[in-house]
């Protein structure tokens, strides 16, 4: 406004100066002066530029106009990037003080007349000195996660108990029922001197403890009361600790339930003890309701999960009792168990950083499985059908113990785990194949000792990891089959009563490495040098009752491998780009010694398995990944033995293979899009793999259904393409996430069936749809639909098709805060070889919680339609398989869960 006015006035003046009517000019000057004076009094513009001595502009300087040096500020401006400022002042003052203050420059000030003008300043650098802030000591001090309230600062005359004072502390609130809230959330624990004496019943103390005996109240934010979980379970809840002015806790939980039918039980007791330096959690659990409690022995912490990745699993057994395949449904649907689990975990702190942990568990279970299996072997010369009725009983006896010593300080990490596992598992089975009844018994004892050490220590600025893993195990397995199978091969074509196949494996494996890290500009290099050794001794014999077993029914061989490797991982990171290179060089030495034939085989290989991976981020929405590489692998020793081994009652395995090297190439490409605000997530990725195996597996199917697996030394090319697509979108108005996905794949390989080389092609297509809705805190439902369409084609054979559909709907209703109703339905549809299966499982759960007493009552009814069997179908390159599996009948279990 002001500026426009000024410009107009200037223009008028210019015009007037050019005018040829001076007599008009004179009065106008007066008018002009008059107007400009009034305007000046109303609004003045002070502007200018602020620079340094060297002429550099000073931005963000405060320019103020005051009535006096320390007086009232009338107007102000802040200099811009060019150092320019402009202040508009509407005041009748004659003189004002213009002051310039800028960070780390000397203060400037000058009195100016209240007139539109320009004032430039040149500032001299001078560190800005701030006065020390004197803050009154607050009655509330925060130190780390702990908030301390000084009680005396909040207490009044009328206050008696600590509860009276608590309610006055900011952020703390005491509700009518005595519950203490912090920041609107109930406190988790109420400690007195760090001890949780009263658990949740802290009213007793809170209302009776005189505040005068309390020095301070501590709020422990993000407090995890159970120290054993401290590294596992973070929390955003607060606990309260009463520090008195002037040190053992036992707790736990339990569950008890009964049901029908037959008589069902489900019970558990979990006591815990917490002391300053010691913690203990034990548990005893038993049920026959199909609840697989052994899962609780599985890794519970992320840290342990990682440790298990390093430990090498015990080798697989060569021997099996023929089983009906378990259905692709939850194990609680079919597990017919009678389980007892006992576990104890003790943690003791030796000092602040060093701790010792002992974990031990014993699992005892008897499981029954029943089913009918139909196997159709299709060969170029025709199909061979095999029908089996199978009843198996599994006896599980497993003792697992572990001793851990751990030191975890900011300076380093040391952890040593010594594990001792003793298993004595047995399987007994009766099988009827239409003509004969066959008894099988497999005993699988196992003893395993493992020591794993990991030590991470800084050397200079780098972290060095020293890793050692040493493992020894023994597995003397025995399979007994009555009557004796393979009479033609093993017993001179005479029937014989029993086969006793023993396979004893002893392993001694070690793995040691040294690893470091080195950063250079945008690169990170992780060099590692290691040596891995494996020793395996295999002894086997198929005993048929004859004084001397046939020589080819025995094995006694030693296998040793040594792998020495150097590898360099390199990661390049720049904005929007990450490249990972993996460059391992390995030297492999294999030594096989057949003690029976007194022959040995020694081979060495040098391998280089380069790989790379790229991740390109275009922007917040789009990302592209890609990678590829080349990899060598070698035969598993378990595939190399000269003598025959009877795997199960109808399969003999003879693997007379050399040490073989498989070469593989792989590649992948993925495109990702995400828009979190619109809640759209989608990606597509493609993978390709090609491998050249040095041999072909050959199946020889005998007329009685038994088969022999031998290998034909002819290169086999295996290739596969996989495509994966996913999409999801959340619709706010419907409170629903919609998802869809598709997996598609094709793979091909060569097979030899009855001496004929055939090409086998497998294709699959797996679309799925998901919907998930949550209506506030009262109701939710989940719906999921999955299809699996698979085709298998052997050249010259009709194509096999399989169609599988599963859908599930779960409805969760919360009629009240302490009640829950769950309705679930699962539907499975299976079609293969013109066989159709339709199975529907509805389940119902109702739960009532006594909040104060922390007791849950729960009623669960499963398999309401009382389905008795599950029919599943699958096929591979050379057989079609269908199993009719006995599942758990309808059952109702009522249980109570409590804490003590």
């Amino acid at each position: 406004m002001q500026r426009n006015h000024t410009i107009k006035r200037k223009q008028v003046f210019e015009k007037l100066q050019q005018a040829t009517f001076p007599y008009l000019f004179v009065p106008l000057i007066f008018i002009g002066i008059f107007f400009s004076n009034t305007l000046l009094n109303a609004q003045t513009t002070i502007s200018g530029r602020i620079t340094t001595n060297s002429g550099q502009p000073v931005a963000s300087a405060s320019v103020t106009l005051s009535d006096s040096l320390n007086g009232n500020i009338l107007a102000f401006a802040i200099s811009n990037a060019k150092g320019d400022y402009k202040i508009e002042l509407a005041s009748t003052l004659k003189v004002a003080v213009l002051q310039v203050r800028a960070f780390n420059y000397a203060f400037e000030s000058r009195p100016i007349p209240n007139q539109t003008a320009e004032y430039n300043f040149t500032l001299t650098p001078k560190p800005t000195e701030l006065p020390n802030v004197v803050v009154n000591p607050s009655p509330i001090r925060q130190k780390g996660d702990t908030l301390n309230y000084v009680v005396s600062a909040f207490a009044d005359q009328k206050d008696r108990s600590i509860a009276d004072v608590l309610s006055k502390m900011p952020g703390i609130e005491v509700q009518a029922d005595g519950r203490v809230m912090y920041q609107g959330k109930a406190i988790q624990k109420y400690y007195i001197e760090g001890m949780d004496l009263l658990e949740g019943k802290y009213n007793l103390a809170n209302n009776n403890l005189p505040h005068k005996s309390v020095s301070s109240v501590q709020i422990l934010e993000n407090h995890q009361p159970i120290r054993i979980l401290d590294s596992l379970v973070p929390t955003d809840r607060a606990s309260l600790n009463i520090k008195l002015k002037n040190n053992i806790t036992v707790t736990g939980s339990g569950r008890a339930g009964i049901g029908a039918e037959p008589f069902l039980w489900d019970a558990a007791m979990t006591p815990m003890l917490f002391k300053k330096q010691t913690q203990f959690i034990g548990s005893w659990q038993t049920n026959n309701t199909g609840n697989d409690v052994s899962r609780q022995l599985k890794t519970l912490t992320i840290e342990n999960l990682m440790d298990q990745l390093d430990a090498q699993p015990a080798a697989a057994s060569f021997l099996q009792v023929t089983e009906a395949a378990v259905p692709p449904v939850g194990s609680n649907r079919y597990l017919d168990n009678n389980v007892h689990l006992l576990t104890g975990n003790l943690l003791t702190k030796i000092n602040k950083d060093l701790e010792i942990r002992v974990n031990a568990s014993y699992l005892n279970d008897v499981q029954n499985r029943q089913g009918d299996a139909t196997t159709l072997f299709y060969t170029p010369s025709g199909e061979v059908a095999l029908v089996e009725n199978i009843r198996n009983r599994y006896f599980v006896n497993e003792l697992e113990t572990r001793l851990t010593v751990q030191q975890n300080t900011p300076k380093g990490y040391f952890k040593n785990m010594l594990t001792l596992n003793l298993h004595d598992n047995q399987t007994a089975g009766i099988l009827f194949n239409g003509t004969d009844s066959i008894a099988q018994r497999l005993t699988r004892p196992m003893q395993q000792v493992n020591n794993q050490l990991r030590w991470i220590t800084p050397i200079g600025k780098q972290l060095i990891t020293i890793y050692s893993n040493i493992q020894y195990n023994q597995m003397p397995d025995v399979l007994q089959v009555t009557p004796g199978p393979f009479a033609s091969l093993l017993h001179g074509n005479e029937a014989y009563p029993e086969l006793r196949q023993s396979v004893s494996q002893t392993h001694f494996n070690t793995h040691h490495y040294l690893e470091g890290t080195k950063g250079w500009r945008k690169w990170t290099f992780t060099p590692r040098a290691g040596i891995q050794t494996m020793h395996q001794q295999l002894e086997s014999e198929a005993e048929t009752g004859k004084p001397v077993s046939p020589e080819n029914a025995q094995n006694n061989r030693n296998a040793n491998t040594t792998k020495a490797y150097m590898q360099a991982n390199a990661i390049f990171k720049a904005k929007g780009l990450e490249l990972t290179f993996n460059l391992p060089f390995s030297s492999h030495h294999f030594y096989l010694n057949d003690m029976l034939k007194d022959s040995s085989n020694r081979q060495s290989f040098l391998t280089f398995d380069p790989g790379m991976y790229a991740n390109i981020i275009f922007n917040a929405y789009w990302r592209l990944t890609g990678g590829g590489g080349y990899q060598n692998s070698f035969s598993n020793f378990n595939q190399i033995f000269n003598g025959l081994i009877v795997e199960n009652y109808r399969s003999i395995r003879i693997n007379n293979l050399p040490i073989a090297q498989t070469r593989a190439a792989y590649g992948s490409l993925g495109l990702f899009y995400r828009d979190p605000i619109k809640a759209i997530f989608t990606h597509i990725d493609y993978r390709y793999q090609y491998a050249r195996q040095p041999y072909l597996p050959v199946n020889r199917i005998n007329p009685d259904g038994s088969r022999e697996m031998v290998a034909l030394l002819q290169p086999n090319d295996v290739g596969s393409h996989t495509l994966n697509y996913k999409f999801s979108k959340y619709v706010t108005d419907l409170k629903t996430t919609f998802g869809a996905g598709l997996q598609a794949g094709i793979s091909q390989s060569k097979q030899v069936l009855d001496g004929t080389l055939t090409r086998s092609i497998n294709r699959y297509l797996r679309p799925n749809i998901k919907m998930n809705t949550r209506l506030g805190g009262y109701m939710a439902w989940d719906y999921e639909l999955n299809f699996n369409m698979a085709r298998n084609a052997l050249k010259g054979q009709p194509t096999n098709k399989l169609f599988f559909l599963s859908q599930s709907l779960q409805l969760h209703i919360y009629p009240a805060k302490n009640q829950y109703i769950g309705l679930a339905g699962e539907h499975y549809y299976n079609k293969a070889l013109n066989q159709k299966t339709n199975i529907f499982y509805p389940d119902l759960t109702y739960r009532y919680t006594f909040t104060k007493k922390r007791i849950d009552l729960q009623l669960t009814a499963t398999n309401l339609l009382n389905e008795r069997t599950y029919i599943s179908t699958r096929f591979t390159d050379f057989y079609f398989y269908q199993s009719i599996f006995q599942i758990r009948p309808r059952q109702v279990v009522a249980s109570v869960k409590f804490q003590f």
Binding site: T64, V133, V233, D236, M306, I456, A620, T849
Partner: protein, 289 residues
């Protein structure tokens, strides 16, 4: 309250954290912002979150890091969490494997829970405010001009914490504020998004006595400060970000479902329920418009 569900929730949080740190996709987008402030101002920020309980305030410690070009305002809790995340992230970078790193990241578990997860950057030269916040894992931001809603200067002086302070008033996003600022600290800054006065804001209150922010400490700094940010934050509008934060607080699962983290529906519902309860005690917010 069912404890096992609660634990589940926290375990979930841990998994998310480890996922965020270890996932290739996410770790790639992590950016550590370095800033060298000349001074650190500490404020106590009190907000009445429930207007029916007029004597209960939430207490947040705010830190304002500033030099002569820009400033960052962050809650002490967020800064503490950032330091843990950065340490974890750097250990991950330094460690030779994810396993090693997860073993060494002990601290995510000690992270503080806070609703003050924002990071406010003021660029004095560009006269702009960038407000960053995390919606579950996603860093989302909006931009605003500095000093929206013009300050009116008032001829009143006072001495606060030894500073000669002057008063200014303005209406901003539904509240009438009174600020006390001192010209002896010549930065046009203050806590949160406030600033634009010819000196640092020492105290700020609203007319209804629902907001009270005051300086508790001011000291020079020579150390670098670091913030855990995304290299690809997503831009949005102020009101949209607020809606997203509320929506994600009530039901964070839609922000994580695509990560293939499976959580029992029952637990999700229980979480929603607890959060709804918690939100009931929050009927007041700083920005009312």
């Amino acid at each position: 309250m069912n404890k096992s569900i609660t634990n589940q929730e926290y375990l979930l949080g841990l998994i998310f954290f480890l996922f965020a740190i270890t996932s290739k996709a996410l770790s790639q987008s992590i950016q550590i912002t370095h800033f060298k402030p000349a001074y650190i101002a500490t404020y106590q920020y009190r907000l009445m979150r429930d207007t029916t309980k007029r004597n209960v305030y939430s207490n947040t410690e705010l830190l304002l890091f500033f030099n002569n070009e820009e400033s960052y305002c962050i809650s002490n809790d967020r800064l503490y969490n950032d330091s843990i995340k950065i340490a974890g992230y750097q250990k991950l970078l330094a460690a030779n494997s994810i396993e090693t790193a997860t073993k060494m990241i002990k601290s995510p578990l000690n992270m503080r829970s806070t609703s003050d997860n924002y990071l406010i950057r003021k660029d004095y030269g560009k006269n702009s405010i960038t407000y960053f916040n995390y919606v579950v894992f996603e860093e989302i931001y909006y931009k605003e001009q500095m000093n929206e809603g013009k300050w009116g200067l008032v001829d009143t002086s006072s001495t606060i914490l030894g500073f000669d302070c002057k008063m200014a008033k303005k209406r901003y996003l539904g509240r009438n504020y009174t600020a006390w600022y001192t010209t002896s600290i010549p930065v046009q800054d203050g806590p949160l998004k406030f600033g634009g006065l010819p000196g640092l804001i020492i105290q700020l209150k609203d007319e209804l006595n629902e907001v009270d922010i005051y300086l508790t400490d001011l000291k020079p700094s020579t150390e670098q400060v670091r913030f855990f940010q995304s290299s690809n934050p997503i831009k949005t509008e102020r009101k949209k970000l607020y809606d997203l934060l509320i929506e994600a607080y009530l039901d964070p699962s839609r922000w994580t479902e695509h990560l293939n983290v499976r959580v029992r529906e029952e637990d999700k519902i229980a979480l929603i329920r607890r959060r709804q309860e918690a939100l009931k005690t929050v009927n007041n917010r700083l920005e009312k418009e």
